[in-house]
């Protein structure tokens, strides 16, 4: 149990950090959501792991699990869900208005990226554009 939870947090965090360091917005957003999953599991485990235990005080129950982390996780899930939705919308807005889904800002003096609707423009994703944009 401990091993499973610990490795889940570790793997999710590692994958999240890798994705967050990517250049384009889509993997970065996936990375942030993986990181929020990781932190949710981490928070859940912060009240110690207990299987099949009641969180609420009742007569005749001897051992309990800590209810507070569950409440914290619930809050964290709601907030991270909302934030992810907002960031997806803003990323879409940025992509649609700039025709470019890189996270980096354009440097001063760098040319505008080629418009997609120009017939002979290099498509995003092929090497030439990527070099031009970086």
């Amino acid at each position: 149990m401990e091993l499973l939870v610990a490795s889940a947090v570790g793997v999710l965090t590692a994958a999240g950090i890798y994705l967050v360091l990517r250049l384009r917005t889509f993997p970065v957003i996936i990375g942030t959501s993986l990181l929020t999953y990781a932190v949710n599991i981490f928070l859940f485990a912060s009240g110690r792991l207990a299987v099949n235990q009641a969180p609420i005080l009742r007569d005749g129950v001897e051992t309990y699990t800590d209810p507070l982390p569950q409440a914290l996780v619930l809050t964290a899930i709601v907030i991270s869900f909302g934030m992810t939705a907002v960031v997806v919308m803003i990323a879409l807005g940025a992509y649609l208005s700039a025709d470019d889904d890189h996270v980096n800002l354009r440097e001063e003096g760098q040319p505008e990226p080629a418009r997609l609707d120009e017939p002979d423009a290099p498509r995003p994703g092929d090497g030439a554009t990527r070099e031009a944009l970086q």
Binding site: T32, V39, L43, S80, M83, T84, S97, V103
Partner: protein
């Protein structure tokens, strides 16, 4: 128990909802509600400030629950000082936004503004670490909307970076809180302080991790190098009034550092040894240097001001990192000062950016624009304040920072960084100001000489939104900030006495802790368990050890 302490949070929250739901299509009604709300907020903040000025600690238990179980709001001198600071800048920024019509360039400006105020006030007043996180998120999500107000490609892209950076910061905050909870079993700040004071707990590695993670979180908010990368482009791309409001947001990071590392992790705790002198002080000195070099290096006026924010945060945190009462007092004075100076500069830059048309914020010679002389004067005064030249309050703040650093072993580094970076900032701001305001006369002269040659710069002559008559409100707002700076300078004696009392209160957290933990409130009376001595919390006070054994028991 009176309800005054929660009103700075409730009023903007209710107003924001009201503005969205009831006044959605009535701009005038929105403006009236928003401005009236922020003025009422100012009055209440002044009242709270006055109430705590004799050292009283105000406590508000939400739902009347006893402290470690329920969420509390705490108003001490530091909290109410910061609340008053935010309440002071809000109406001025609203006046500016109304006067320039920024609130008509997109939807829901006033609602988002009020939500942002709610988050800021909550972050300053809360006495619960997780609640602090929630209020951070409230102010952040409102700031995302404000940052993107009126749209535009560059603004969207800078906003995306800002959002992603803060999303990662929030994740880090949650990791820190989880670690803290796992180690101590509580998230109430006063309760945390009481538990960390019990002997034997301070040697755990988990606490050290939690304290470092928390410092990192606040360093992200306060834009300490190397976590400052989100600041320059997002502040430069944000609408002017929003950037001015964001001047308080970096201070929230500084407030978090001051609050947590005086109350929860007091300076004599072994787990946090070396955190400030080994890490924060050098980092903030580098921040100071990089910020001011950025002022000189950038080729845009708005980015120059944004970099000066980074630099001023470096100065502030260098003073915090000295971690003596004198250092904290200097830091608080500088925090108040730099909030006003930053807000004034961003508003001026916004007017300049608007009126220069196609030249925008670029540092290049352009023809003169209407109101240039007045704006140049205001820019001159605010830049003097920002760079810390006499006679304005920045100079006093810097002097106090230098004086506070004399006790520190790194004193020569601090002096070198503060004085050197001030020189660089002075050069940077004079270059920016002379390029934008003085060289425009040369351009005009050149234009007059070659008058028969219609240039493409002719289009730039006309601001894209030519004001028929000089609107007064923006100037009133900027003048208000400068008046506040002057007032800070003139009244620096009483203000410093108040701030010294504040730091004295910060370095003696016992009254804070006892007020929070010993004020009676509702508790759950639970009888009828076979080994009930752990679970029956009768009476007001639950000792830390008692609860710690309970946590231990749960873990096995």
């Amino acid at each position: 128990m009176t309800h005054w302490l929660i009103t700075p949070i409730v009023i903007p929250g209710v107003l924001a909802a009201l503005i969205v739901l009831a006044a959605r299509f009535h701009l005038r009604l929105q403006r009236v509600f928003s401005l009236a709300g922020s003025l009422v907020g100012l009055a209440i903040a002044a009242g709270l400030f006055w109430q705590t000025s004799d050292g009283t600690i105000l406590l508000y238990q939400l739902g009347d629950w006893q402290a470690p179980f329920g969420i509390v709001l705490v108003g001490d001198r530091l909290s109410t000082l910061m609340v008053l600071l935010s309440a002071l800048i809000a109406p001025l920024i609203l006046l500016y936004a109304i006067g320039t019509g920024w609130d008509t360039r997109g939807r829901h400006f006033h609602a988002l503004f009020q939500f942002q105020m709610m988050g800021i006030m909550g972050a300053f007043l809360t006495g619960d670490a997780f609640n602090l996180f929630v209020f951070f998120e409230v102010l952040l999500i409102a700031s995302y909307g404000l940052m993107l107000h009126s749209g535009g490609t560059e603004r969207y892209r800078a906003g995306l970076q800002y959002m992603l950076y803060n999303l990662l910061g929030s994740t880090l905050f949650l990791f820190a809180l989880g670690t803290l909870y796992a180690e101590t079993g509580t998230l109430n700040m006063a309760d945390l302080a009481a538990r960390l004071a019990t002997p034997g707990i301070e040697h755990t590695a988990g606490l050290r991790v939690a304290s470092v993670l928390l410092l990192l979180v606040f360093a992200v908010k306060a834009a300490v190098l190397p976590l400052h990368f989100w600041l320059p482009s997002s502040y430069a791309e944000a609408p002017g009034p929003v950037a001015a409001l964001f001047a308080i947001m970096t201070k929230i990071g500084a407030y978090g550092i001051i609050r947590f590392y005086t109350l929860v992790f007091p300076p004599d705790l072994t787990v946090t040894q070396g955190l400030f002198d080994t890490w924060l002080l050098p980092a903030s000195l580098v921040t100071l240097a990089v910020g001011m070099i950025g002022v000189l290096g950038t080729r845009r006026l708005d980015r120059a001001v944004a970099f000066s924010v980074v630099g001023s945060m470096g100065m502030l945190l260098a003073s915090v990192a000295v971690f003596t009462p004198e250092g904290l007092a200097a830091a608080l004075y500088y925090a108040v000062h730099s909030t006003f100076a930053t807000a004034a500069l961003f508003l001026i830059v916004d007017l300049v950016r608007d009126r220069r048309g196609a030249h925008g914020p670029k540092l290049e010679a352009a023809p003169t624009f209407p109101g240039g002389a007045l704006l140049a004067g205001l820019f001159f005064v605010s830049a003097i304040a920002m760079t810390g030249l006499p006679p304005l309050s920045g100079f006093l703040g810097k002097l106090m920072v230098l004086e506070a650093a004399t006790a520190d072993p790194l004193v020569w580094w601090v002096w070198a960084a503060v004085l050197g970076s001030s020189l660089i900032a002075v050069v940077g701001f004079s270059r920016a100001g002379s390029t934008v305001f003085w060289k425009s006369h040369e351009v005009n002269a050149a234009h007059a000489a070659t008058v028969d040659e219609p240039e493409d710069e002719q289009g730039a002559d006309e601001p894209h939104d030519p004001p028929a008559r000089e609107p007064a409100l923006p100037m009133v707002a900027i003048g208000g900030f400068i008046a506040l700076l002057v007032a800070m300078t003139v009244l620096s004696g009483p203000l410093m006495r108040y701030i010294e009392d504040t730091t004295a209160q910060l370095f003696d957290p016992a009254p804070y802790i006892s007020t929070v933990l010993e004020t009676p409130g509702k508790t759950i009376e639970y009888h009828g368990d076979s080994h009930g001595q752990d679970d029956a919390h009768e009476g007001a006070h639950v000792s830390a050890e008692d609860a710690a054994t309970k946590t231990q028991k749960e873990s096995h």
